[in-house]
Each structure stands twice: as structure tokens, then as C-alpha cells.
Symmetry: D2
Subunit: 350 residues, 4 copies
């Protein structure tokens, strides 16, 4: 990373929200039990249960998303059971086969918007008929998805109802859950999740924490001896306190949601400017990842000033780029980016 140019590459380019660092400092020398059996984890769990308005769930903290995904999936499935995922799903593409490394096949569904529907799942179920094939038992979705789209409450309800009918677990990867929940494109609330999923996780790393994802187990079938799985997979931190402290902070004074809203606001501000210039997007901007389609010469000029991914070629003259914002993205950088975009665009038209 070239530190001269501001980066819109990721939502994990900075450290933690200052309140988190402050909380780590304040509690630093208080002696606590290890392995997540400390007071801070207890308080964080309490606050999360309160936020989701459900105290029947089990909450566990781990360091990162790949861990959260493969531990939940492999603890829920029997050896011959498989998990259904969008072909764009993080577990299918970007986790180095972690799910398969635990022994389970992923049944991938081709998708253009990163989301999956009951109709698509139905086809997978119909295909898998007997003991010569794996048995699909879980549906994995990401919200927001890997390409920035979000599930509406109605979509999630349909998925959940279908899964329940078919005896499938529904698991939501919430690495970017904050941004999804604060999206104007979705009416889904965090209090809906315990009813509409069997398990989900609340992503901390990409929403202001140093590390940390909070796994929420809603279905009783998934709760049994979960700490054994966490430990066996090397995910039980000796100083589990640092996960507790972070989630306690995120779920105090609305910080988790404020962080996510700031990230979304910054993305939407860029999106508005792009729309004003009458450029298009790959998919409607819905969360903190947006994909404007720009002329290649504009992209070339912008990339001299800012860091971002050129995502895909659209036609001979245009490509899509990915702009990712976060809790830490200063509005001043967004304003500069917009100003530069307008200036470059104007030059290009001369």
C-alpha cells in the first residue's frame, strides 16, 4: 500500500475505533479469567442479547470471519452433509477451501447479485437424492454480500421459511452486517435475525474493532459444546477479554451502528456524485461497497490520486471500480475524491 495515496481498497485498512483502544487501556491491568470466561465477555454478551432482543441465543467470540464461517458450518454438519452457497460466497471463493478442509462439500449456486433464492436451493435439493451424493443441510448467505448487495426482510423471511420446511439450517455471514443493517435498501433489523436465521455472526473487524466476530447461535441444535469446536480450531484466545472489551464497546452508545452508518454515508456520497455525472453502477449502491462504471481514462487519472480496485471490464471504453468505505473514512477524503472525479470528468469531456 502506497501510503501517499488515500485508500478506498478495504474496510480494514486502519486500526480500531478510538473508543475501543481507550477501553483496552482502561481495563488493561484488571486481572481476569482466560479463554473468554471473563467479565467483559459476559457484559458484551449481555449487550448483544439486549440489542437483538433475545436472551435465548448463545454468543461466542472469535477473531475473524473465516474462523467464524468454518467453525459454525463444520460444527453443524455431519461428515456427509454439505452447505449451499452462492458461487460468489466468501466460503466458496476466498477461504482457501477452509470448509472443505473440515470435510464438507459446498454446493455452489451461480448468481449475478450475490444472493440466493428458495427456487435455486430447490434445484440443489432435487438433484441430491441418495447416499451416493452428499446431503445438503445448511444454506450459507452473506449480508451484505461480497458484491455489496443486501437482503430485504421479505427475502430473508422467504429463505428462512423455505429452509425450515426443508430441514436446512440458515446461516448468515455478517462480516459486513453493520453496513447491511444500516442500508436504506433493506428494512431488516438486527432484532429480526434470531427469528430468521439459525445462526449468524456480527462482524467487528470490518466495523471498527481490531479483531473479532460475535457468533450468535439461535437454533438449539447448534449450541451444544460449541466451545469445544472453538478450542479445537485454535480460535479460543487466552486473552479472550480483548474480544469482550471490543464488543462491549461496540454495543454501548450505538457505536456499532454509528460506525456502519458512517461507512454507508461515505459510500452513498460518492455514489450520488457518480449519479450526478450520469455514470452507471454494477448493481444499485446498497452498502459500503459500491461499483461505479467509469470511462477508462477517468479511472486512470483517479488511480494516480487514490487507491481502489479496478473490478471488471465493462466494454472497450469503460470498467467498473470498487470503492470501499469504513467507519474510519474521513469525509474530507470523500470530498476530495468527488472533487477530483468531477474535475477529471470535465477535462475528459473537453
Amino acid at each position: 500500500m502506497n501510503n501517499q495515496k488515500f485508500s478506498f481498497l478495504y474496510d480494514y485498512s486502519e486500526g480500531a475505533h478510538p473508543k475501543i483502544l481507550e477501553a483496552l487501556s482502561m481495563t488493561n491491568l484488571v486481572q481476569q479469567n482466560g479463554y473468554g470466561e471473563d467479565n467483559y465477555c459476559e457484559e458484551a454478551k449481555y449487550l448483544i442479547k439486549k440489542a437483538i432482543n433475545n436472551d435465548q441465543v448463545d454468543v461466542h467470540f472469535v477473531s475473524g470471519g473465516t474462523q467464524a464461517n468454518y467453525i459454525v458450518i463444520s460444527s453443524a454438519l455431519k461428515p456427509y452433509e454439505s452447505v449451499i452457497s452462492a458461487s460468489t460466497g466468501h466460503i466458496h471463493v476466498h477461504e482457501t477451501g477452509a470448509v472443505e478442509a473440515k470435510g464438507h462439500k459446498i454446493n455452489a449456486i451461480e448468481t449475478t447479485d450475490g444472493k440466493i433464492t428458495p427456487e435455486q436451493i430447490e434445484k440443489v435439493l432435487i438433484f441430491h437424492t441418495d447416499e451416493h451424493m452428499v446431503r445438503p443441510k445448511m444454506v450459507y448467505i452473506s449480508n451484505s454480500t461480497e458484491i455489496g448487495t443486501v437482503y430485504t426482510k421479505s427475502e430473508l423471511k422467504k429463505l428462512h421459511l423455505y429452509c425450515k420446511e426443508k430441514g436446512l439450517y440458515l446461516f448468515m455471514d455478517g462480516a459486513r452486517l453493520g453496513s447491511a443493517l444500516m442500508s436504506p435498501e433493506s428494512d431488516l433489523s438486527i432484532t429480526d435475525l434470531p427469528e430468521l436465521t439459525d445462526a449468524f455472526y456480527i462482524g467487528g473487524t470490518k466495523n471498527g474493532a481490531l479483531i473479532g466476530e460475535a457468533i450468535v447461535l439461535c437454533n438449539d441444535n447448534l449450541k451444544n459444546r460449541f466451545r469445544y469446536y472453538i478450542k479445537q480450531n485454535g480460535a479460543l484466545l487466552a486473552k479472550g477479554r480483548i474480544l469482550g472489551i471490543q464488543f462491549k464497546t461496540l454495543f454501548t452508545d450505538n457505536l456499532f451502528f454509528d460506525n456502519a452508518k458512517h461507512a454507508n454515508d461515505m459510500a452513498f456520497k460518492v455514489a450520488e456524485a457518480v449519479k450526478d455525472l450520469e455514470y452507471d453502477f454494477l448493481g444499485e449502491p446498497s452498502s459500503n461497497q459500491i461499483f461505479p462504471i467509469l470511462p477508462n481514462h477517468v479511472i486512470d487519472e483517479l488511480s494516480k490520486l487514490y487507491q481502489f480496485y479496478v473490478w471488471s471490464k465493462v466494454d472497450e471504453d469503460r470498467s467498473s471500480i470498487r470503492i470501499v468505505t469504513s467507519w474510519a473514512t474521513p469525509e474530507s477524503e470523500v470530498d476530495s475524491f468527488i472533487a477530483d472525479l468531477i474535475r477529471i470528468n470535465k477535462q475528459g469531456r473537453l
Copy 2:
């Protein structure tokens, strides 16, 4: 944990050394690449290579000891290969079968002092003769061991020579490496390790970091595509920077060794007091874990004032206890403990 009574239960009861928190704050908003490809990780690797006086090794950072152990072991072994460990070894007892969960058998050697010798390994090799049995390929040792003992340079040299002759990898679990290296019972130096092991890790969590172990791969055979293993096992942190910052701090101004020396000094101060009272130990005090043997009534009184583990029954009247100190143990608490021990002891003899 009862916060009223000072705890000698663990060396991970507190947060991080203040210099580490400070470094996290100072760097917090500097944008960096993710997944350990940031500048701080680079600097930390440079400092570690300098400290061990070897720039041919590969250094990788992960969050915790179980992760470090099972990832190194499973990346080094073929599916039919096994790892030899003391029966007290952390991988054999306290990692919920993480090594077996990756498919590998542990050949356990019964031991009283937590250490293993070439003669013991020889018996395991002789027993395993053909394809109906696993094939031992690695020797796992802990230094300091799970019961506080340490390897001398001469012991390690013999082990390493033997392993090399037999085509075995030698891997050292260094969760408490700092304390082992600062032990007056051992002449081993950190600069010896690249020559005397095929891989080892430098424990941060128990020596002043929030989280973090630095895996050092010395043997070229073990280096290939190691990041794939880290990622597949959910151990590649998005904000890998926080591991880099911590190890950079630990290996600046001798902090890693100073922390360990403080822990040892506190343990030895207690040990001296115990010796002065003419009490015995389970094994000679060598590192930050010591095991005094005390009359049961003394233990009862002490445990009203301090937290520690009662380790094992020695005879009808006496038991051993485990006292663990750390970088964070205040000398004032050690002094109080000693004063209380002397007082209780005196009362007992009246």
C-alpha cells in the same frame, strides 16, 4: 476469578504491556495493507530475524498457541505421518485434539519432567516399522515445558542431532519461550534456535502481548506456501498489522526479554522464600511456573488471600501448588505473598 484476591493462576490474566497499547494507539489511523502484508509486520520480521541472528528463516504471525502448533505440525506432515510428544505436551493434553482433528496421530512418550530424550524417541521409531503403522516424522517439545522445566543447550543439541540423523523435524513450542530463555537453569540463547530446531514459535500472548505468536520456520522444507495453511485455518487476520505492531514493540529495546526476566524474577523470589522455609518443590524452579510443596493447612490459609492452583497431593499432609508469574506481576504482590507465607508458616508451627 474473584477480583478481590490477587491471582497467581496464569500468565495471561492481564492485558498487554503499556508500550504495546501505546504503539497500537500511535499507529491506529495509518492505512495499511491487510492480511499481514503491512509495514509493521515487515518491521517486526526484520527485528526478529535480527534478534535470532538469522535472515534465512521465514517468520509468520498468528493469534495463539494452539493455532501455531497445529498449523506448523499439519503443514509439515503427510497424512500418514505422526508427531512425537511428551505425554504432558500441550498438543497431547490441552488442545482438544487439534492435531488429530487435522488427521495426525500423536505418539506420546511418558515423562516425569515434561522433557524428552533421544533414547525415548528411539523406542518409538523402532516400534513403527511399516505401512500398517503411522510414520513418526516430527518431534514436538515445549520450552519451557508445561511443568516449568527448561531445555539446556546441550540437551537441545543432542535432540536436534538425533532428529537430523533420523530424518525427523524438531519443533519447539515457545508459548513461554521468553521465560525459558531467561532461565538461570539454561544456557540456551535465542540465536541458537534457528540452528537447533526446524521450526519454533515465539510466544507473545504470555509475555506481554494481547495476542500473538511468531512462528519461525528454519528448515526450507517447511516454508513453502505457508500462508495458504494460515489462511485455510482461519489464522490470517485481516488486520494483521496488530500482530506486527506488537512484535515490533516486543523486539524493540529488549522488551520481550525484560518482560520474561521480570516474570522469572518474581517466581524466583517466591521460590527463595519457600526454600528459606525449608519447603520442597516438584522439580527445581526454573521458569515462571513453580510448584512449591506446602503443608495443607498453609495452603488453606494462603488460598484465602491469593488465587493459585492446588496442583497435586504429595502425601497425607502436603500438596504441591502452582504459582505462575508474568511480566505484569507487581513485586508488591509477591512481597505480600511471601510475608503472608512466612506469617502463616510461623502460626502453623506454634
Copy 3:
């Protein structure tokens, strides 16, 4: 299975070729070493090496195809490596996730004819760029494929050359290798295989044996301690002699090829009759599995007399069926089937 109606369902509906039963009887009481270290296995290996005109390969016998597939694949791959397969591949569809159960992802390529090409593989390789993704390392093909098609020598040469350039292993599933090699649609010879694959297996079960597949390891990288993998996966039979006796018999007096030719001849005889009636096929008949497209009313009548799979709906009036023949299919049953087909067809047109 209704024993009244002759079955064209499978090529494993009967026991073994009589010469194999005879050989089992003749050798029955001769004492031999266990676990494949007997004289018959030695002789069978010698005969196979002679048949493929290469004595540098390693030959191992196992009971069935799923075993052969997952053992070869999992012994060749490192934990983070994947295998590329057609989406119709037996390992992807019909082995209950055996490859994933050993920890490896399958990268599936959509295909209509069951075969894959370098161009399709190239796309997979380009997509997998770094340690966040699995690393494709092997290409799995079936010959004949699961839908009866066969590779020509030129197709296999191109695949092999491409794999070699890219550092990929090429592994051929030969469950129906006999039929593929005797296909008039292919000029491939068994002596070509050691040069054009890194490993393949010669299917016995579907070509006249009771059980048994002969794995042939051509690439030296794949040979090391292979018996450990066979044993660990429960595939090392105590009485390995019965695999040796069967393959010795199959590779004596051309029996392996004669069996396959008979199976093909029976299928082609049916195919000719179908063509004479001016019906079409799903794919050109190439081996012992053919897929005629017939009017539904013809299928209904035929299925009162014979057993076979109705494979897929083609349009409102027609479906494809699967006819499988084997070494054991009597020509008289084929003749009856053809006569009945002609008769029913005539009736239908009245």
C-alpha cells in the same frame, strides 16, 4: 431389481467372468502372504506393466472406484490444493463428497459432453491467484466419461501437454477404461496412458471382476509410500491375493479387452437398430453406455419387458433412456430387445 425382466441398468449386475471364478478356485488353498504381498499380485503387476509397455510405473490394487479416486487424489495433493473436474465427474457428483471428506475442494467445470479441455482449465487457473484461494494442482478426467463419451489420443495429448506446462497432475478415472479403449470413436491405446497421464486406474469391477481396480502411478512424485495411504483408508485387503488373481486373469489371453469389446459390441448393436429406426441419441454412441431418444409410448412399452433408466425428458413426446451393456450381456437378450423395439415402434406408427 425384478429378476423377471432382463436388466440394462448397470454393468455390474452379475458376478465375475467364469475364468476369474475358476482362478479363485484353483488357487484357493495355496498359502500366501497377506496385504497384497502375494505371488498373484506380483504376477498381475507384471502382466499389467507388460500390457501398458512400461515397467517404471507402480501398480496397486484396491476394491472400488471411489477408493481409487479419493486415495490417489488425496495422496497427491497438499491440504490447500484442489482438483479440477467436469461437473459431471464421478468425484463431484456420485461419491458422497469423498474428496472433500479428505479435505480438498473440487473446482467443477460445466460441461455438456462430460469431457474437459485446456481452455476450460485455463479459466480456473486464472481465477485462482493467491493464498486466499485454493490452488488447483490436479485435473481429474473419466474415460469413458459418466455419459459414455471417450477421449481421443489427440485430446488427451493436448490435455497432458497443458497440464505439464502448468504443473498440474493429470489423473484418469478408468472405471470403464476397457470400454473406452475398445471404442471405435477413439484411437487411444493402453500403452499411451503411462506417457499421457500422471496416474490412472484400470477398472476391473465393471469389466468382469468381482471387485478390483488397478491403480497405475506413472509420475514418480505420486509413488512415495503409497501403501500407507491405501492402508490408512481401509483399502489394503488382508487377502489381497483375490485382487491379484483377478487382474492376473484379466490380463491373460486378452480377457480384459475381449470383455470390453463384447460390452461395446452389444451396445453398438442396439445403437444400430435405433439408427435404423431413425431415432436420435444424446451424444454419439461411443462405449457401453448409450442414450437413445425414443417416443415416450415406445419407452413405456419397452419398460414392461426390460429394465433400463429413463434418463431425461427431451421434449413433450420424447425422452432419452440409458442402455448399459457389459461383458455379461447375452447377445440373445440384445436381439430380443431389438426385436421388441422394432415391433413396438411399428405398432406405434399404426
Copy 4:
């Protein structure tokens, strides 16, 4: 194996009992469904349920003992659960880590006679207290054991009762179950097994079959979708009929028990001769494996005439040997062996 000298090395040196070969021939061309869904498997299951006097069990056939062991164990255990075994247990020593390869730790109990007791299991349970350790969930025993000893009904009852109290599954490896049941040292009957174990298998390979073990699942918890496990582990033979035919034959006209009785009788005849010569044994002869202790010079002379294993050094002058008999051991060879033993013994004393 030198075919000149008669072998007492194994109980799998010959093919199958002639009645089995005859049954394979008689049924050879009858068309049947594949994958164990044929009439012969049905009949064999019926006969086994009748023999054990219980029709609530599930019966499945696989090829060999390692398969049976690791499939039963890994299907019963959750990823963090372990299996308790004698240190001499086949799964611990002679299966190339197959159980660990499926992810499970074996808790080994040191034993001298190959058997384990509730007291020994208790110690394992007490040691394993929390989620930092594996959770023992199954007890594996072999009957007869790997060193020829057998469980009495009373011993098995105690084990079973204890396991039930503690929530442990009890699984009996019956590779040599026939010999164990026909042992004069045990009053255990095959009809006791459904009540006194949660699962067991009936060994065919070492008692007259070419291949084949019949897994009997007694506890309902272990029955669910067991065929998926069989298939995923490559153990579902396409021509499953050959397992059905063999077990149908073994459980017709008492053949299974007659085979075992013959094996035992032959061993005991040797044992009587050894006793007459006033030689000792490693353990009381109880089944078809006996371990006479003989002077080394006697062993040297015998080994010029017969094949057998020299098992262990007893003192400077004496060693134990292992004599294994089977359904196929001709009494004439036993008589010759005894005559030679007497002759050599007499010479030695001159």
C-alpha cells in the same frame, strides 16, 4: 512367504471356504441390484439377525476390519470426541492412524492382556474435564484381542453397564469374533452381543470368507444414514452381492461357528502338546492365537520346518512364538508340527 514350509503366520493365508466359492459360482450370472441392495445381502442380514436373536439391529457389510473400525468410530463421534482403546488395540497400533485421519484422538490405556476394565476407563474420564481436552465418548475393545485373550460374559456385562452409566458407546471389534465365541475360556454367546454392545462387527475375512465384515449397529443413535458413511469412505462395493453371498453361506448350517471351532481346536491341540512338554505360555491359550514360550534352540529348529512369528524375548534362553491357526489349517500339519516339536525337544535334552 516360502511356499515350501507350512505357515502358522496368519489366519488369512488361504482363500475362502469351498462352500463360499461354490455359492459365488452358483449365483454368478443372476442379475442383481448393486451397492448391497441385492437379494443375497437381504438374506444374509436376515440370517445374522436370526443368529443373534435380534431383529432391531441394522446390519451392513464392508470389506475389511480397518474400514469397519474407522467408519463405525468416526460415524459415532462428534469432531471433539475421542475413543478409548487398549494400547494394544488394532486401531491404536496397526491401522496407520485411520481413526486420527478421520479427526479423532484415541485415548490409549496401557494393558498387559489386551483387555480393559471400567477402573481403567474411569481414570481417563476423570482426567478429561473441559473443552480444552477431547471428550471420550466411545470404548473400543477387540474380542478376541490382538494377543489372543477373550472377554467373559461377566467382564463384558460390567464394561457395558459402566459405559451405559457414563454415556459411552461400547464398540467391539470382532475381526476374530468367531474364535472368541467358540473359546472354552468364555461363556459369551453371539446372542448376548446386541444387549451388551452398542455396535460390533462379525469378522468374515479371518474366518473363511474372501473378504467381508458384518457391522451390527445395536444402538439406535448409531444407525442414522450409515450408508452415507460407507459410501463416502469408499466401502460401498458396486457388487455388494459378493459380501451378501459370503455371509449368507457363513450363517447357513453353522459354518461360521464350525470354521472358528476348527481353528480353535487346532490351536488347542498344539497348546496341549506344549503343555505336555511342560512349556509355558504368554497368557493362557484361549483362541486361535497362542504364544508358547520355547527354548531358543527349539525355535531355531522349528523355524526350519514351519513359518511362524518369533514374538518376544522372554529371557536369555527362551522366547515366545505366535502360532495362528484357521478354518483352513489341516490337522495333518498340526500333527506334524507337534511331532517335530517333540522330536526337537527330545534332541535338545540329550
